[in-house]
């Protein structure tokens, strides 16, 4: 893969597969060191159905705006390099790693949904409910990212096979090793759709 297109992918914050990781590290470094010093600007973000106005540096990752400015701390910082998936959010229904999404590239028309926007304690989303039923977590730190990715998967593919679940979730890391429980939780939703 050419480094140009790789940079595009990194800029867009999408997850990247292993084959390109050699390039990837160098690219991230270049991006970091090449940041111009920009002053803060106003941005309007559509988060969980609400219009939120923030004043931040344009290149600051969306992750920190969600966590620090909007107090949506369910979106976790795990690595800062798009490797673990703990910071995943939905942007127009697609799971994106918010540590790799610069705020300036999120347009005001794009709909951002965080874990807090999926369901509440009294009204859990189907994926959240399944995660509870299957104890699909231990420490729970990676769980919001897992649920966001599972939600995105099920919106594209309501009936994924086990292999499709694994392929879609493979780059979300869980150190406690709750993978089997997560697969079971997602698969339980696939079955009810049949």
């Amino acid at each position: 893969m050419a480094e140009e297109s790789l940079r595009e992918i990194i800029d867009s914050g999408m997850s990247i597969c292993y084959e390109v990781m050699g390039f990837r590290q160098r690219s991230i470094f270049k991006l970091f060191q090449g940041f111009p010093v920009l002053s803060e600007k106003y941005f309007t973000l559509d988060v969980n159905g609400r219009q939120r106005r923030v004043k931040v540096e344009p290149e600051e990752p969306l992750l920190w705006i969600l966590r620090d400015d909007l107090n949506l701390t369910g979106t976790k910082f795990g690595c800062g390099f798009g490797e673990c998936g703990a910071c995943s959010v939905l942007i127009d229904g697609v799971a994106r790693r918010s540590c790799q999404v610069q705020t300036q590239y999120v347009s005001s028309g794009q709909k951002i949904v965080t874990i807090e926007g999926l369901g509440t304690a009294d009204n859990l989303s189907p994926v959240q409910k399944a995660f509870v039923d299957f104890t699909a977590f231990q420490c729970g730190f990676c769980t919001p990212g897992m649920i966001i990715n599972a939600t995105a998967l099920l919106s594209i593919n309501p009936n994924p096979t086990k292999e499709e679940i694994i392929a879609a979730m493979d780059f979300n890391l869980c150190r406690c090793g709750s993978y089997l429980n997560i697969i079971e939780a997602i698969a339980s939703l696939a079955n009810t759709e049949e």
Partner: protein
């Protein structure tokens, strides 16, 4: 709950009843001291001096609510769920009546570190037994105060009632209001309560907060005026191999939004730190730091095996039985081998994080942290800050994975130091790179030399082990061998070694279980049968049979380059584990695919099968990681693993179906813990399966495609 002890006591009212539990395993002692002391704040401090023996509290308030207090922490292992299940069932109260308070040093007594798979076994079970003592105690008190016999009373829904007056339940606070009662519990002696625990399969009590993203970890706290902070990463193992010589911070300080970039004297060694309101700016500033560090005097090259041998010092004899040389001489076959493991790290998802606030000119220091031992964190912070311990208040938070890494971790004292320096509340958040490089505590590479002699009937006669590492755990109790000599050697390292999940059980068990298979082969025995002949405890035979049945060993027809391997483990808490793994090896690529794992564990009463199964599966997955991928890139000067993708941990696609059976034959009754156990035999089982599949013995972890191709080429 975030209250000081005084606020807390005020909030529940002075008419509440407090039980303080002394936990004394093996003493044979169980008692309630029947001299209740008047309950007032000042006296309570004396009665419940948490520096001494009373390690857990149970408090009954006037509304019938129960609160329990312990310094053990929720690290993801499900302790809150276990405690909730035990106490609600023992006291017959609904979940909403129970508050579990963990790891607040102003509220909770110090009952040690959350480690060694001991919290369910020690703390959980002592609460269970204590609750039953309390039931008896309350019935006795009610009988005295109502002037009736104890038979006319029963314990129900957290209180006592007269059998003939079922409508009215007398609350504990009515019976002993304003009193504090001390009690002693020996969990080993106690099994005569006639109270069988029944797992009702409750949800993880934090489940809803976790799935809605509302469970607050320490990184989620925000205090007014708080600054983020992080360390500059030195190029070498810090501080063991390097000192800061000079720095140029001008460019770093010029980064917009940065509050300060400075050198600080902080143990360990002099370091550079950046502060900013936004973590983004901390990161940018740290990239601009220019610094010079002394080059380590030791060689850069780190030849693990050679260095271990060169630096080894004899520590002690771990086990000596019979005459090992005579035993070996009398053997039909002897096998001598050497096994090696590599340095690994923990890579928990939440990097080290702490929030600290220093007030009243340093007389009031509050630290929020996800840590396994808040009281120890408090002691060390007070020591470092040179203040009395009472000035420091550590508030434990849920932890995003610890695995032995976060036991009074440095971050718990660095954060208050930085807060004092900068004069504002600080959130110290380790970058992932710092987590790998600066928090350089690694699970140590271990080396084992083993020689075993076996008789013609398949009985092992003699075994000699020289184990080079820190502890030598896991060499005992698995096999009955008449002549044994196990010696422990230490090896000093250019960096710090870690406590990590499974400690040296992991390395030892890999070596011993691989070796046992080779001994079985030399003696001409099937590895399953060979273990059945030689195990020390019959409970192991039941577990081996269970695994053989689950994985279908007796009728197994392997495909090309497929095989099944077995390994067993005895963990210190009297926990037994047997794991059978089936693998397929690709001879061309060298890739190992774990196809299936079947495991049987003898761990006593299982308090919550759902959290226990999650924990056991997770541990087995750790074992797969240690077996196939995990090795931190490290040399004598530095670790150069910086990213998660550089340190391969198991992913969804690496995980096979895992079947787990629970047994309770060895020492039935009390729970015995299971956090570390499942990792331990998994690595040996995979190594043995690879051996059965392709006939190649791997003498070092991890079993990477390269190492397998190399081994195949050499065979």
């Amino acid at each position: 709950m975030k209250l000081t002890r005084r606020q807390f006591l005020a909030s529940i009212g002075n008419a509440c009843l407090v039980y303080a539990i002394k936990f004394s395993p093996g003493s044979g002692q169980r008692s309630i001291i029947q001299e209740p002391v008047p309950f007032d704040d000042e006296y309570t401090c004396m009665a419940f001096d948490w520096s001494i023996d009373y390690r857990e509290w149970i408090v009954f308030d006037q509304s019938g609510n129960v609160s329990i207090f312990t310094n053990r922490m929720e690290l993801g292992q499900g302790l809150t769920t276990v405690l909730t299940a035990l106490v609600t069932q023992a006291l017959d109260i609904p979940r909403e009546k129970l508050t579990v308070v963990l790891g607040d040093t102003d509220l909770c007594p110090d009952d040690g570190s959350t480690q060694g798979s001991s919290s369910t076994r020690n703390v959980g079970w002592s609460f269970w037994l204590a609750c039953h003592e309390i039931r008896n105690n309350l019935i006795q008190q009610a009988a005295d105060s109502l002037q009736v016999s104890q038979e006319q009373l029963e314990f129900l829904r957290g209180g006592v009632r007269l059998k003939k007056k079922p409508g009215r339940i007398i609350k504990p606070s009515e019976l002993g209001g304003g009193k504090a009662v001390r009690m002693t519990i020996d969990p080993m002696a106690a099994s005569d309560n006639g109270q069988e625990y029944e797992d009702l399969g409750i949800d993880n009590v934090n489940a809803v907060e976790i799935v809605t993203g509302r469970l607050k970890y320490v990184g989620d706290l925000k205090l007014p005026g708080m600054l983020y902070a992080d360390w500059h990463t030195p190029p070498y193992h810090h501080p063991w191999q390097t000192n800061l010589l000079s720095s140029d911070l001008i460019e770093a300080r010029a980064v917009a939004g940065v509050e300060a970039v400075m050198e600080v004297d902080e143990r360990p060694g002099r370091r550079i730190v950046a502060f900013a309101k936004r973590y983004h700016n901390v990161t940018k500033a740290l990239h601009k730091v220019k610094s010079k560090w002394s080059v380590p005097e030791r060689p850069k090259e780190l030849r693990v095996e050679e260095e271990i041998r060169a630096r080894a010092e004899f520590v002690k004899i771990l086990e000596k039985k019979g005459n090992v040389d005579a035993g070996l001489a009398a053997s039909y076959k002897t096998v001598t081998e050497t096994y090696l493991t590599q340095n690994t790290t923990l890579a928990q998802m939440e990097t080290d994080t702490a929030v600290a606030k220093v007030e009243n000119g340093g007389a009031k220091i509050t630290v929020w942290v996800g840590d396994a031992w808040p009281h120890e964190a408090r002691r060390r912070a007070a020591e470092l800050l040179k203040v009395p311990e009472t000035y420091v208040h550590v508030i434990g938070m849920p932890t995003g994975g610890g695995f032995g890494h976060k036991i009074a971790a440095p971050v718990t004292r660095e954060a208050p130091v930085l807060s004092q320096i900068i004069g504002a509340p600080v959130k110290l958040l380790y970058s992932r790179r710092n987590q790998f490089k600066l928090r350089s505590r690694y699970k140590m590479a271990c080396l084992l030399d083993l020689t075993t002699g076996v008789a013609t009937d398949g009985k092992m006669l003699a075994r000699k082990i020289d184990t080079y590492q820190d502890a030598g755990s896991g060499t005992l109790h698995t096999y009955a061998i008449p002549h044994v000599l196990t010696k422990l050697y230490s090896a000093s390292w250019p960096y710090q070694l870690a406590t990590s999940r499974g400690t040296s059980y992991v390395q030892n068990c890999f070596a011993i279980e691989s070796h046992i298979d080779m001994v079985a082969k030399a003696a001409g025995f099937d590895p399953f049968t060979f273990r059945r002949i030689n195990v020390d405890l019959t409970a192991f035979v039941q577990l081996i049979d269970a695994c053989a049945a689950m994985i279908g060993y007796d009728n197994y027809r392997p495909g090309p380059d497929e095989g099944i391997g077995l390994a067993i483990c005895f963990h210190g808490g009297s926990q037994l584990g047997v794991v059978a793994a089936e693998v397929a090896v690709n001879r061309t690529s060298g890739k190992v695919k774990v196809k299936r794992i079947c495991a049987a564990f003898d761990i006593g009463t299982v308090i919550n099968h759902r959290t226990a199964t999650a924990c056991l599966r997770g541990g087995i997955i750790w074992g797969i990681g240690y077996a196939l991928f995990e090795k931190i890139k490290i040399d004598g000067h530095s670790a150069y693993t910086e990213y998660l993708l550089d340190y391969r941990i198991p992913q969804f696609s690496d995980v096979p179906p895992i079947d787990i059976e629970f047994h309770d034959n060895c020492n039935p009754g009390a729970p015995r813990g299971c956090g570390e156990l499942p990792i331990v035999p998994t690595i040996g089982a995979i190594a043995n399966a690879i051996h059965q599949a392709i006939g190649v013995r791997l003498y070092s972890t991890p079993f990477t495609p390269e190492s397998i191709r190399k081994a195949l080429g050499g065979s």
